[in-house]
Point group: C2
Chain length 131, copies 2
Amino acid sequence: MNDAQPTENIVDPSLEADVFSRNCSSREILQNVTSRWGLLALVALLDGELRFNALRRRVDGVSERMLSVTLQSLERDGYVRREMLQAIPPRVEYSLTEAGTQVAQRLSGLIELVEAQVDEVAGARAAYDGR
Amino acid sequence: MNDAQPTENIVDPSLEADVFSRNCSSREILQNVTSRWGLLALVALLDGELRFNALRRRVDGVSERMLSVTLQSLERDGYVRREMLQAIPPRVEYSLTEAGTQVAQRLSGLIELVEAQVDEVAGARAAYDGR
């Protein structure tokens, strides 16, 4: 009856990752990179490293706290690198790792597609709501 | 505090959809297709149409209610088609539209990548937690 158990403990390492399986850790990783703010932060960093405040302006609407939590989680997963630069005052910059770049490129492709579908989706909604 | 940032990062000069803008409808559409269950339902349907219960078994862990809400939202956005088949008892089948197929293919590529990164992410987490 203990279903709040860390997934790493029950994953059989001999099995391939499968996001369709509720206990596979890949599902949680996928959720981190496709979360509302995680996705936008990753894609924003595709253009190059950014300081916290610059990233926050780019990801319009995110709170300081949510961006901080999001970046920490992406850093822990190895997708984002956080670097403290020697300067006065000290600066912190965020950038993508190699794994993060790969994920961000896929997400960027998805965003391009969805942005191109906006009119089509608006039409579908109007049709659905009107029937 | 304005620390010299390229203006193209904060202002989209065109009227095109931009998920980085908090009020753009593309952001909401993106959230529907990358939601925990929306993403998995779309990719599950890439293999062909499925009935509700079959889809629910495939998307391991989803509740009946959440799957129903998710499919309704994807149907409204024009990504999923819901068809009532003449049979006894009547059957309802879900399938992808053309737009849904395009999105699901991108999501499937993302899933493949993340599944391949599971070991790397586990290593990054261990390093992060141990420092």
